[in-house]
Amino acid sequence: MEKIAVVIPAYNEEDSISLVLKEVQNLNKGDELVFDCVVINDCSTDRTGEIAEKNTNAIVLHLPIQLGIGGAIQTGLTYALEHDYSCAIQLDGDGQHIAAEIPKLLHAYRQGYDIVIGSRFIDKSGFQSSAIRRAGIGYFKYLIKLLTKQLIRDCTSGFRLFNKEAMALAAEYYPDEYPEPEAIVLFTHAGLKIGEVPVRMRKRQGGKSSIGFFNSIYYMFKVSLAIVFTYIRTQNLKKS
């Protein structure tokens, strides 16, 4: 039996969390592969925590103070490491990511990738996000390619698979806010093999996006800075 943790960071997702949990539950068909939901309730002010608790398949971790998406993921990955899961899949609590696409990530994992990113922009099917957001993603794509020589088409996608090595690395260090692009630089320098597979995504099923209009300017600036500094900081990781 192989155990796989589906790490679901959730902040005020009462509208979508039960659907997400049910979709993951639907993946559990045989005995050789078991998917466990690990919901990280990041101080939700609505009923997200209660709803998740009612689902018997879900392990719910309640953070005592709000950590943001990065800290929530770290918590989930630490849980997965401590409980000996062979890999962990990050899935957003808002329903953007479709659990039925998880086997595609697993397939790439079996081919030997350490990190597998579910990408909207390979097949260009499913929800494609707004033009302005795609422009931002394009900018990060080129910045990352410039620094790491690695082309990741959907570098802000949070639909990701971590193997054990990647889990251990991310449990040690992971950025707080908007961690996805920066983490790619970290993983590349740590010598992890990153794969990208085409997946469909949906529009969020409820709740509000974490990135508003004015925030996006701050986001671009902060993540650019973080990418460059992670690039510099992890140089020695690359050598060793």
Partner: protein
Amino acid sequence: MNPDLVNHLDPKIQYISITVSFLFLLYIGVLIKKGRLREEYAIIWICCTLLLIFFSVWRDGLDVLSRLIGVYSPPNMVFIGSLFAILIYLLHLSVVVSRLHEQNKTLAREIALMKERLKSDESKK
């Protein structure tokens, strides 16, 4: 400034600044005594206050010092010097806050994991 002029100035401001500095020093002492200020942070405050007292008592000191390092007007030296010191101290505090933030994150994570473990242990019984 002409030293003769300084000596003719009203000494009121001197008394005020000496009194305020001593009150400040006293307050720092109270904070340390109550355990609300850690000693390593108190050191810098005590040094600053002593400096204030020193120059409040020795009013010509600022003139002498600024002439010594070639600053034209003593108030400028005070402003530049204190701004610089404040900036460095602020940076230091940012470093302290960043470290606290990291430690907080680790603690929160551990608590969440332990709460879950406790709950699953209870449900097994």
